[in-house]
C-alpha cells in the first residue's frame, strides 16, 4: 500500500526524521491559513500517488497567502497526469502546504528489501533529487548501500559509513547518522516495503530535512498495521480494482487489452497474458483466483471481468492443484446463466477434479469455447475477441 507524501512525512517525523514545517490542506482557504502560519510563503504540493508532480503542474510556490489560496484552488480537484499515472491521471483532493527551504545540496536516501540476502538494504547517494534508477544505470559508483542484519539490527557505524560516503561530514555527521537510524526504525516498526527520501536536503543554514518522501507498506502486514491501513486513499486506486477488492478478489490488476482473464495461480495468470500476446491478442486484466473453494468467489470475479467495457472475450484458464476445477466450472455456469459474462467465453480446465468439472460444463449446454491446452485456449480467445 502506498502512502501520500504528507502521510509519509507524518510517520517519518514520528520516528525522528526532520521534515519541513507544514500541514495538509483540503480547501484553498486552509492552504491560505497554513501559508500565513508559515510566515507568508509556502510551497503547495499536490498529494497523489505518483512522482514527477512538479512537471505536471502539481507543485507551485506561493509568495503570499493569497497566492497560496490561488495555487491550491488550481491544484485541488485536478487530475494529475504524469508518465507514471497513465492518460487518465490521478485525482488530487489534498495539498501539502510547506515552508520554503533554501537548498544547498540534495542527497538520496532509502530503505528497501534486498531479496537475495533477504535483508533490508539502506541505499544512499550524493546525487539526490534525481531518478535513482538513472543514477544506478549511468553512475553506479555514486550509489552506496549497506544491509541491516536482523540479528543485531542497524548499527551506528553503518550510518556513519554512508554519511561519510555521501559527504555528510562535520556538523552534519551525527544528525545524518541519526536520520538513517530513524529511517530503519520506521521501516521495521511499520512493515515498510520501501521508504525513499529523495531528496534529503542540506539547507543553507546547515540543517538536514526530508524534502520529499515515498512510503509503501507491505500488504501482507495489514493485519498488524491497522493504524497505517487506515491511511489508505482509495481514490488513488483504479475503480475496477477496488470493486474486485470489495468482492473479495485480491489479485486483480486492470490492464489495457480486450481479453478478460480468470486464472488460478499468479504464475499461470502471467503466463496466460504472455500466451495471449504471443497469439496476437492482449489481456484486459490480470486475475489470480487462487484456491477458489467457493463458486461465489468465481461468480464475483467473472462479474467484475464481464462488466469491464474493454472486455471483448473471456478466457478462463485453470490448472487445479489446491483449486478445484469442478467448483470453477460451476462458477462459470452460474455466472453465464446470470448474464454476468455476455462475452464469448473460452474455458480450459485441467488438474484436480477435471472430469467432474467437464461434466458440469457439458450438462449446462451453454455455448462455451472449450480448449484442451494452453496455446489453443489463447488462440481461441484472441480469435473471439477479434470477431467481436
Amino acid at each position: 500500500m502506498k502512502l501520500h507524501e504528507y502521510q509519509a512525512k507524518e510517520l517519518l517525523a514520528r520516528f525522528g526524521v526532520p521534515v519541513p514545517k507544514g500541514r495538509v490542506a483540503r480547501t484553498p482557504e486552509e492552504a491560505e491559513a497554513i501559508c500565513r502560519e508559515l510566515g507568508g510563503k509556502a510551497v503547495i504540493k499536490a498529494q497523489a500517488h505518483t512522482g514527477a508532480r512538479g512537471k505536471a503542474g502539481g507543485v507551485k510556490v506561493a509568495q503570499t497567502p493569497a497566492e497560496a489560496k490561488q495555487h491550491a484552488a488550481s491544484i485541488l480537484g485536478m487530475q494529475l497526469v504524469t508518465h507514471q499515472t497513465g492518460p487518465q491521471g490521478l485525482p488530487v483532493s489534498a495539498v501539502l502546504v510547506e515552508e520554503l527551504v533554501d537548498i544547498e545540496r540534495e542527497i538520496y536516501l532509502s530503505v528497501a528489501i534486498d531479496n537475495t540476502p533477504g535483508m533490508p538494504v539502506i541505499i544512499a547517494s550524493a546525487q539526490g533529487g534525481m531518478d535513482i534508477e538513472e543514477v544506478a544505470a549511468n553512475h553506479p559508483e555514486a550509489i552506496f548501500q549497506v544491509h541491516v542484519d536482523p540479528a543485531c539490527g542497524f548499527q551506528p557505524f553503518q550510518g556513519r559509513s554512508l554519511a561519510f560516503k555521501v559527504g555528510l561530514t562535520g556538523d552534519l555527521l551525527n544528525p545524518a547518522t541519526a536520520i538513517i537510524g530513524a529511517l530503519v526504525k520506521a521501516f521495521d516498526a511499520t512493515d515498510g516495503s520501501i521508504i525513499e527520501i529523495n531528496p534529503l536536503v542540506v539547507t543553507k543554514d546547515g540543517k538536514l530535512l526530508a524534502a520529499d518522501a515515498k512510503y509503501s507498506i507491505d500488504d501482507n502486514a495489514d493485519y498488524r498495521q491497522k493504524d497505517i491501513a487506515g491511511m489508505r486513499d482509495r481514490s488513488q486506486e483504479a475503480q475496477r480494482e477496488l470493486e474486485a477488492h470489495d468482492a473479495g478478489i485480491q489479485n486483480y490488476v486492470k490492464l489495457d487489452g480486450t481479453i478478460g482473464c480468470l486464472v488460478n495461480g499468479a504464475g499461470l495468470a502471467m503466463a496466460t497474458m504472455d500466451a495471449l500476446k504471443f497469439e496476437g491478442g492482449s489481456p484486459a486484466n490480470f486475475l489470480d483466483i487462487g484456491t477458489a473453494n467457493s463458486t461465489d468467489t468465481v461468480v464475483a470475479a467473472l462479474k467484475i471481468i464481464g462488466s469491464d467495457p474493454d472486455v471483448k472475450a473471456v478466457l478462463v484458464n485453470i490448472f487445479g492443484g489446491l483449486a478445484r476445477t469442478d467448483v470453477i466450472a460451476q462458477g462459470i455456469v452460474d455466472a453465464k446463466r446470470e448474464g454476468f459474462i455476455p462475452q464469448p467465453t473460452v474455458v480450459r480446465l485441467a488438474g484436480t477434479n477435471v472430469e467432474a468439472g467437464m461434466k458440469i460444463l457439458d450438462a449446462s449446454e451453454l455455448d462455451l469455447g472449450r480448449a484442451d491446452g494452453f496455446a489453443e485456449a489463447a488462440r481461441m480467445a484472441v480469435a473471439a475477441a477479434k470477431r467481436k
Binding site: 528489501i113 531479496n115 537475495t116 540476502p117 533477504g118 516495503s193 502486514a221 490480470f286
Partner: protein, 293 residues
C-alpha cells in the same frame, strides 16, 4: 535417487486444518509416509487417521519426522518454520502465502546458519516421482516417472510444464516449487544445484518470472552446468511497477524485466522458451539433440 525427498521421507504436517488434512490424505494415497500432524492444543487426538501432536519436537522424537509440510496461516507461519528448524527437521516446506516480508527476513537469517533447508514459502511443494514422495499441493495425475527436473517460482506453472512434458512422453524425476515471495528459503540457483547433482535427472525446466534478480543468479550457475536447461520467464507482458499476484512479481528496475532475465539465461546457455505453451515441445527437442530421447 531423487531431490530432497525419497521413499524413506517421513512427513509431519504443521497446521492440520482443511488444506493440511486434504493434502495429507492426497500424499498418503500417492504412497508418501505422512507420519503425523501438529496442531498446538490438539496433541493426542487422531484426525483423519493421523495422530496429532502439540509440537514439532514431539513429531521428530516419536515418529522420526524428517520433512515438515506447513499450512499454518500467514500471521503464524514464520513461527511454524522456526519451530521446525529448532526441532532439527532437515527439509521444511512452507505452502503458506502472504507471510509479512519482515518475518521472512528473520527466518532467512536463522536458516543461513542452519542444517535445515527451507523450501518456499508461497510454493506448491516438492515431489519425487519414482519415490512416490510428495509434500505439497500438486495434482499427482499429471506426473510421469522419468528424468526431467522442474523448478518454478509459480505453482500452477509447474503443473502446466509437467503436463506438457507428460503428454509428449517425457517423464519427470521430480519438481521443486521454490515459491513466489520476495524472500524464499531455497533459490532457483540452489534448486538447480540439487538437480545437477541428482543422478536420476538428465535435464531441467526452470520457470522464473518478473521481479528481483534470482534468474540472473541462476544463470551464473547454469554457465557451469553439465545438464541442459530449458527456461521460461512469466510476465513478459506485465506492466512495470504493479504487483502481479505474487509478492515478488513486481518489476522495479531494469533487472526485473522478463527480457533482462531471458537475455541472462540465453547467454548462460539455457534454451529460452517465449511462449508458455512450448515448454514441453522445446524440452523434447533439447533431449533429442542431446541424444537423451
Amino acid at each position: 535417487m531423487s531431490v530432497l525427498m525419497n521413499r524413506n521421507s517421513k512427513v509431519v504436517v504443521q497446521g492440520f486444518g482443511g488444506a493440511g488434512q486434504r493434502e495429507a490424505a492426497n500424499g498418503r494415497a500417492y504412497g508418501t509416509q505422512i507420519v503425523c500432524g501438529v496442531t498446538p492444543g490438539r496433541g493426542g487426538q487422531v484426525i483423519e487417521n493421523t495422530p496429532i501432536r502439540n509440537t514439532v519436537e514431539e513429531a521428530v522424537k516419536e515418529f522420526g519426522a524428517n520433512v515438515s509440510l506447513i499450512f499454518v496461516p500467514a500471521p503464524f507461519a514464520a513461527d511454524a518454520i522456526l519451530e521446525a528448524e529448532a526441532a532439527g527437521v532437515p527439509v521444511i516446506i512452507c505452502i503458506t502465502e502472504g507471510i509479512p516480508v519482515l518475518d521472512m527476513v528473520k527466518v532467512k537469517r536463522v536458516m543461513k546458519g542452519s542444517k535445515s533447508r527451507l523450501i518456499g514459502p508461497n510454493c506448491p511443494g516438492v515431489i519425487s516421482v519414482a519415490e512416490h514422495a510428495r509434500a505439497g499441493i500438486m495434482p499427482v495425475d499429471v506426473y510421469m516417472e522419468g528424468h526431467v527436473g522442474v523448478i518454478s517460482r509459480s505453482g500452477t506453472l509447474v503443473y502446466e510444464a509437467v503436463d506438457q512434458l507428460t503428454r509428449l512422453g517425457i517423464g519427470q524425476s521430480g519438481s521443486v516449487g521454490v515459491g513466489g515471495d520476495p524472500i524464499i528459503g531455497t533459490s532457483q540457483r540452489e534448486a538447480l544445484e540439487l538437480f545437477e547433482a541428482d543422478p536420476d535427472t538428465n535435464a531441467i525446466v526452470l520457470i522464473g518470472e518478473i521481479g528481483g534478480t534470482a534468474e540472473q543468479e541462476a544463470a551464473e550457475y547454469i554457465k557451469t552446468m553439465k545438464k541442459p536447461v530449458v527456461a521460461f520467464i512469466g510476465g513478459a507482458t506485465a506492466p512495470p511497477g504493479r504487483r502481479m499476484g505474487h509478492a515478488g512479481a513486481i518489476i522495479a528496475g531494469a533487472a526485473g524485466t522478463a527480457s533482462a532475465k531471458q537475455a541472462a539465461l540465453r547467454a548462460a546457455g539455457a534454451t529460452v522458451v517465449e511462449s508458455p505453451s512450448n515448454i514441453g515441445q522445446t524440452m523434447l527437442e533439447v533431449l533429442q539433440k542431446a541424444g537423451l530421447k
